[in-house]
Symmetry: C2
Subunit: 350 residues, 2 copies
DNA sequence: ACTGTCGTTTAACGCGTGTTAATAACCTCT
DNA sequence: AGAGGTTATTAACACGCGTTAAACGACAGT
């Protein structure tokens, strides 16, 4: 019906007050300045007219957009098979809604990082951002350090001073591999979750190495493979591994997504888990408990990570000095069915 | 360094032209109005100063935000385990980036729909929106029909005239069940993907009924269960089904996510797929090809759906009249390993 | 009745850009 | 060289709201 746009002026007119008063009513913080009855009048008028404060005008005048950005560092092709993402988005949406903020999602191309980050923040599209799985080789990060833009990394980059929220990837991976060693395995392969340009991938790989070293097991580089986030890459890498070098009784796969593919490759090779090969995953995505066999894996509390990131970012936005600029979320090994004690039978099997 | 905000005025000054000229240069469509050399000068000045046009000011002046919204109808709890979502987001991000648009993600609570939709569009946070898996019982949709807001549904709602992009859920589900019937199955159970308030769920259930009717098989309501998007609900429903009513040789599970849980329940019951029970899924999420057994399922081209939705919305935004306001994307039955011809052995097994 | 005080309300300016209508520059042709 | 026509540029207003400083009104005390 009412095709005209409703502005605060209209509301003011109907309520019999000035436009400023309307503005005061709608900026909650200084409520004390307005008399309750006046505020009530304004609210009613706004309601009657169907008034919604214009976000752009507000952003322009106040110089804040009340929107934060979630920056993804992979291409849509890989985003599409990232089962960790929904958990992150779910967690963020929850908080962002409570806080009346908007959530903008963006994908940044390699090589475009600096420009994209600057564009997003300088243009005030967003007040601050959360960078999901940052990369070592991201030149934009140092740019962000210099300019003072509110920003939180989901994942840690060594020698980078930006605030971050992360798990201890290295220790968690070590915990997983330690478990395999405890079970008697000595020949343990590894498939990473991604290329080592991603900090989580290289850190998890380090954890794998740590565990072997601590147990005095020589590291066999040919037992290490790099996957690419998704099940398909896990399948490929596992298949290769089985063909080229079948001398291992256990494997640490640094992502449940990838592990699913690995499982399929093992099945296709006529072997089974954990009878022939023990497998420990990483992430504990919701589906991991339903894989066949149910995955023993490192639980990464995605929701908590999302929430902490969001809170940290909001503190930075408000100018509060956070208790700590770096937050580590504890992980936990979830023991299910995909790993077991090594058996003699294995040796004959392979 | 340059802590002052750079405005088009600064650029104009450096380039020795007026602010309007700068504005013309940055609004690509009317490029012809500016002499190439002038444009070049402006571009260089902008580059040197690190100028990024302010999004809010631009949105305010032009009355368009160059941002579209992706509206989710479920709670974060269910969003977190939606493996279809990454594909949608990946697809949208791809196009949105090409078109220089922003993508805002929002979750709408039941009961808040009208308010949320109005708020988002009237406040010009977004120019238009895509509503993911709309619900029958969403009163906001009729509101959207009346007011003229660019909007595309990902999923069809009967008696709703809003533009939509969808697959033919009913026919696709029938195709899946037809296949089971072809394989000789007569006692076929069904677990839906969600509550029937979601259009896709009720439509897929109808397709299941259609197939049985067409084959003159009586419909046994006790063989029908409703799941809730995720594997956990699939597990629960399947377990119930196996305990209460084990007289079926095949099952149609209207979502791969849910199917994963169902598979786990079947395994836990000591049965196997497809030896004891044949299963056909729906969606063909990327992981489906790696489940155990590899899922026979209906391929839903998520990326294409995302792209078409986005394109349709953009046409609406530009005021072009689209070739068609409703787009149906064809699906396809992907035959893998989870369904097979019925065997006599089955009868003894159950 | 007048002054002073405190708590409300308002006028007016600024945020940075898009865009129209008018001006200026330039070129061609007689 | 001047008129007419085309193109390049600019001045000025609009967009809707936040916010500061000033105006206003009520009220108490002398």
């Amino acid at each position: 019906m009412n095709n005209k746009r409703v502005t605060s002026f209209d509301v003011a007119e109907l309520a019999g007050v000035s436009r400023s008063t309307v503005s005061f009513v709608f900026s909650e913080d200084k409520q004390s300045r307005i008399r309750p009855e006046t505020r009530q009048k304004v609210r009613e008028a706004a309601e009657k007219l169907g008034y919604y404060p214009n976000a752009s005008a507000r952003a322009l005048a106040s110089n804040q957009s009340n929107t934060i950005g979630l920056i993804m560092t992979r291409s849509p092709r890989y985003i599409a098979s990232d089962n960790f993402l929904p958990q992150i988005i779910g967690g963020l949406l929850d908080i962002v809604k409570q806080e009346q903020l908007g959530l903008l999602i963006e994908w940044v191309e390699p090589g475009q990082q600096i420009q994209t980050y600057l564009q997003l923040t300088r243009a005030k599209h967003i007040d601050g951002m959360i960078i999901l799985t940052p990369r070592f080789d991201d030149p934009g990060l140092t740019a962000l350090e210099q300019i003072d833009i509110p920003c939180v990394l989901m994942g840690q980059i060594p020698e980078c001073n930006l605030p971050y929220v992360d798990i201890d990837n290295r220790a968690s991976a070590k915990m997983a591999v330690d478990y395999l060693i405890e079970l008697g395995h000595r020949q343990i392969a590894c498939i990473t979750n991604a290329a080592t340009a991603y900090s989580s991938a290289s850190q998890r790989l380090e954890g794998y190495r740590d565990a072997l070293k601590a147990a005095d097991i020589a590291i066999d580089e040919s037992l290490i493979r790099m996957a690419d986030f998704d099940a398909a890459s896990g399948y490929t890498q596992m298949k290769d591994l089985l063909i080229e070098y079948p001398r291992f009784s256990a494997i640490f796969v640094a992502s449940d997504n990838v592990a699913l593919g690995a499982l399929a490759a093992i099945h296709d090779a006529g072997l089974s888990v954990p009878e022939d090969i023990s497998l420990v995953g990483f992430d504990d995505i919701p589906e991991a408990a339903f894989y066949y066999p149910k995955l023993t894996t490192v639980h990464t509390p995605a929701k908590e990570i999302a929430e902490e990131s969001c809170h940290l970012l909001m503190q930075l936005l408000k100018g509060e000095i956070p208790y700590s600029r770096t937050i580590n979320i504890p992980t936990q090994l979830i023991i299910r069915d995909s790993a077991r004690m090594i058996e003699r039978s294995h040796i004959t099997t392979n």
